[in-house]
Symmetry: C2
Subunit: 206 residues, 2 copies
Amino acid sequence: MRKIAESTVRRLSLYLRFLEEFEEQGASTVSSEALATRGGTTSAQVRKDLSFFGSFGKRGLGYQVHELAGQLRDILGLTRRYRVAVIGAGKIGSALVQYRGFGQRGFDIVAIYDADPAKIGHPWNGLKVRDIENLEHDLPSLDVDLAVIATPGEAAQPMADRLVRAGIKALLNFAPVQLTVADEVILKSVNLVLELELLSYALTNR
Amino acid sequence: MRKIAESTVRRLSLYLRFLEEFEEQGASTVSSEALATRGGTTSAQVRKDLSFFGSFGKRGLGYQVHELAGQLRDILGLTRRYRVAVIGAGKIGSALVQYRGFGQRGFDIVAIYDADPAKIGHPWNGLKVRDIENLEHDLPSLDVDLAVIATPGEAAQPMADRLVRAGIKALLNFAPVQLTVADEVILKSVNLVLELELLSYALTNR
DNA sequence: GTTTGTGAAACGATTCACAGCT
DNA sequence: AGCTGTGAATCGTTTCACAAAC
């Protein structure tokens, strides 16, 4: 598959949400213009984004809402469920585990780990906090697809290394550090302070 | 000021962190190549990013670590502190309020709001949860610079509207919806499920 | 008449490469 | 000699505009 820009994939995710909204509202067909308006982009952008993957519309008519949603789920790999391990039972970790939205969209949190003896063994939203020492031992049987790193900054890189060594292929990092992983591992980072700094910059420079 | 790409500003934030690391390690001078290696980019990229704002280095020598860090703080607007209101005392809201990293980097959470009577009045990490009904009344005296929206999806847009009407100029949105605000309001969104979907796409397409 | 799909044009960001300063 | 600062070249993304399909 030809290399697709991340910005394109982000928009596809949004389009999928919009299609689900349109479907709830009973629409059976939708134009690229309608999707564009909903997403703050242009109809040409919508059509170009879709064109990388095929042609899903009917000229003069638009797209079938339900059908296009299905195509997008295929493209995004959302026709299956994913098993997620959360590393770090601190504030962010616990917020993630309790957040209902993940499960609703196909991401099941199946394990949460911590190093703190005061937390290990405690139930957390139906999951017992596991001892990080057992990570390598547990992971094969847990059949985890991706890991979320929600540790303090200094623990994040060593944890990433352990996870990768244990065979994890995709990481989402919330620790405020820049991780480095092997090329074949997929890594996304969310740095909350950096987002605030972006606001600071925008506020400052007019 | 000429329009600067968001990707550039993101990198500047990272460079600032790296400079702080280098400074802790006792370095007084740093080359664009060293910053680039630390950040997974190229030295030309580093120099180009900086060049939009001035020339901060010395040819043949590199950059003064402490001095460049100061210049970046100026550029990013981080020489002052910001007063932040968190809207929504749910999981994400409480994680944010308790997270120490914001205060360390100049963002003081000065108020947290919720609509749930069971939460209002309760202390939350030293802050009493305020009644969202009082938002417009409170905000002027709180002198809030920016607001973080951590409500359920359906409440996010109405809250954004109220915040903007109350004079807030910058919003960071964690609700899983696409908000629309007036052009002059600065809006960043962090959509956790969308980040997971990006991993799903990457895992699926090879 | 409406709306898609897509080459071509325009725009924007990154990389190159080297002159110029230390 | 070493490293920055920056135009020029390259590469990638978005927008335009229109022929083709309905």
